[in-house]
Amino acid sequence: MELDAAGRSYPAKPSDVYLYATCLVDQFAPEAGLDAVRLLEREGITVHFPEGQTCCGQPAYSSGYPDEARAVARSQLDLFPEPWPVVVPSGSCGAMMRHHYPKLFEDDMVLGPQVRALAERVFELTEFLVHVLHFAHPDRGEQCTVALHTSCHARREMGCHETSSALLDSLDQVDVTEQARVEECCGFGGTFSIRFPEISEAIVSDKVESLRACGAQKVVSADCGCLFNILGRAAKLDQQAGRASPSLEGEHIASFLWRRTSEAPR
């Protein structure tokens, strides 16, 4: 798994894109998906949401069930017939499609070429906003301090810590502070959090602590898996401590960006 963002070439601004929202966004964080659509449409792009999309297959892939992962991935391959970019508001799922799909179909003489061609046009949302759309919009929000958490796959396979950072830095009223051990995993790891609950809890507790301690009012992330893990842990700790208001708030970066730069702030 190598960071290849530096070597990647980006297309000119397209007229149309596909949004591959991911199963987590579809079911648990639809607002983030909607905000991603709004961000893209504002640039004059027509956003297509293939109705057949379900999940990229990563849960099975990383849990050691390649056949099951391949079956799910297979069902997604034909959803993108036009040569438009596929934008994914998750570095983890984006990395799955961009880096692991070609491996999953490596030996497939028929699908292999199709999968490799698809992988080439998969972009994580922040990467797409920065490198293809050259995102630049006035910040209409109030002054605030945030911390950025980048998922491990987004960071190490897609280089998205840099693009997420660039987006936050482009907002005048937003100060970005850095939590201790910013590069460390949040402890989610998909089914790892279920298989090894104590270890996962230990890791995420440390992440919550470092985020609370860094002076940020909010943690922003481009990955829902990490956000649910971190915020869920923080909320549980609040419950246990009897705190009425949350000690840590968080938001998907798509929603954060849209809320701060849209004409009519929500």
Partner: protein
């Protein structure tokens, strides 16, 4: 093969991890040790480009060596033999210990002084010698401490990293006659030095590991900081080196780049205090050095990794320990929890070959696949990919072509297989997915409060009232 006592059954892996996680003092120890080591490494590689260039070079050297491993091993044997070093081949731990015992009996050895060697830990050398009535004493400070405590190393470079100076002070005052309790680190080191200095003189055999074995010159390279490695390999009359078959490199000029990434990645040192190149026993007219030098080359399952195009990369490892120093899981549970000689990410990918996947597969799952190990590995072992492959192997149908390793399929359960089949079905059939996700959203009020392991530490996950696809459909109208 008899089961060495330093190996714990996999079933108790979770329990051991739990006991460390629930111990704040231990967790703090590991955390600060890991922070320290990460900082040291970072300081050694200020330039990203230089680091990546070095990793490319080191990786290429290791892959080049492995690509011609059989030829290099033969060349190594020829050249070592020509230099007067006796070469022995050991298929497994039992063989390795038998070879060492044969030598020990022939020279009527009673005492063996040891330099640091993880391969000797792998074959449980100390206990096997003890059973044969031979004392094997560790002379590396960290190894000496864990041996005194009756423990195994918890880290491949810093064996006693799990111990605080208070614990070491306590240990020395209890176990070393005439030593008062002192937490002063220099005093503690002096205690060790004084005990060990005598032992070097008394030992009949010195045992060491090998960092690099050079085929073209027939030389053994040994990297160390304490000088005990040099003592072990020069003072006793007999020197036995033991190493895995993968440690061979073709040329002497291949050593400096590997040495450089090894020390910088491991302890954040530009160079170590000692670097030994051992090429022959004492020659006539020379005043020191052993009269006999032996090399035991151990397979112990490495050929299984070698035979597999993907898993072969496991053998690129130069044992720097950077993967464990950067692993969020290792930092939380420490090395002993793994129950294998090699802990952390490298332990998870090498142990299945040494012990069988059936004995070790939970280690492959004990990772978030965050990739921190892969990012720092100086020889570019794709550790995360290998972990996924081992997960596949662990759950493969034992009689299928996907089950290729000793112990493949041992982690397969009917329940998990059924769950993932069901999952795959739901997410690959749009109709089923639509129905399932729709009912989850509609029935969100019925979402369970108790979501098992998830809600043990987190608030429950509740589906949104409307899915994104519903919101988008509504928006288009």
């Amino acid at each position: 093969m008899s089961q060495p006592i330093n190996f714990h059954p996999v079933e108790s892996f979770k329990e051991r991890g739990r006991s460390v996680v629930n111990d704040p003092a231990q967790r703090k120890n590991f955390r600060s040790a890991m922070d320290f080591l990460q900082g040291k490494r970072r300081a050694q590689f200020p330039e990203r480009q230089e680091l990546e260039g070095l990793r490319d070079l080191a990786s290429a050297i290791r892959r080049y060596s492995l690509a011609q491993l059989p030829t290099l091993l033969e060349q190594l044997e020829r050249n070592l033999t020509a230099n007067g070093i006796q070469v022995h081949w050991a298929e497994n731990a039992e063989d390795a210990n038998a070879i060492a015992l044969d030598i020990a009996r022939r020279v009527q050895a009673r005492k063996i002084i040891k330099g640091k060697s993880m391969v000797s830990e792998e074959v449980d050398f100390n206990h096997r010698m003890q059973e044969a009535g031979i004392e094997a004493l560790e002379s590396d400070m960290g190894e000496y401490i864990v041996q005194l405590a009756g423990e195994a190393p918890s880290h491949i470079i810093m064996p006693a990293i799990h111990k605080t100076k208070q614990q070491i002070a306590q240990l020395f005052s209890e176990k070393v006659p005439g030593v008062p309790y002192s937490e002063d680190v220099d005093t503690l080191i002096q205690v060790g030095r004084q005990v060990l200095r005598r032992k070097f003189a008394e030992a009949d055999i010195g045992l060491s590991g090998v960092n690099f074995a050079v085929a073209e010159t027939g030389s053994l390279c040994l990297v160390e900081n304490e000088g005990n490695g040099r003592m072990c390999t020069t003072v006793p009359k007999v020197h036995i080196a033991i190493t895995g078959i993968e440690k061979v490199v073709a040329k002497l000029e291949h050593v400096p780049p590997l040495y450089s990434v090894l020390t910088r990645s491991a302890t954040g040192q530009a160079v170590t205090t000692y670097f030994n190149i051992i090429t022959r026993p004492r020659q006539p007219g020379e005043k020191d050095g052993p009269e006999e030098v032996h090399l035991i080359l151990l397979d112990n399952g490495r050929t299984q990794a070698y035979a597999d195009a993907q898993l072969r990369a496991t053998l690129q490892c130069i044992r720097c320990g950077a993967c464990m120093n950067h692993c969020p899981v290792y930092a939380r549970i420490g090395g002993h929890a793994y129950g294998t000689t090699y802990p952390g990410p490298i332990g998870a990918i090498i142990s299945p070959h040494l012990r069988g996947l059936d004995q070790t597969y939970p280690l492959a799952f004990a990772s978030t696949l965050c990739g921190a190990c892969t990012e720092v590995c100086p020889v570019r072992i794709p550790i995360t990919e290998l972990l996924v492959r081992l997960r596949n192997e662990a759950q493969a149908r034992p009689d299928s072509e996907d089950a290729t390793l000793r112990g493949s399929g041992a982690g397969r359960t009917k329940l998990a297989t059924a769950v993932w089949r069901g999952w795959s079905l739901v997410y690959s059939r749009l109709g089923l997915y639509r129905m399932t996700s729709w009912s989850m959203s509609r029935g969100r009020a019925l979402s369970p409060i108790d979501q098992g392991a998830w809600t043990r530490s987190r608030t429950p996950l509740v589906p949104a009232p409307k899915r994104l696809r519903d919101l988008l459909r509504k928006r288009r109208k």
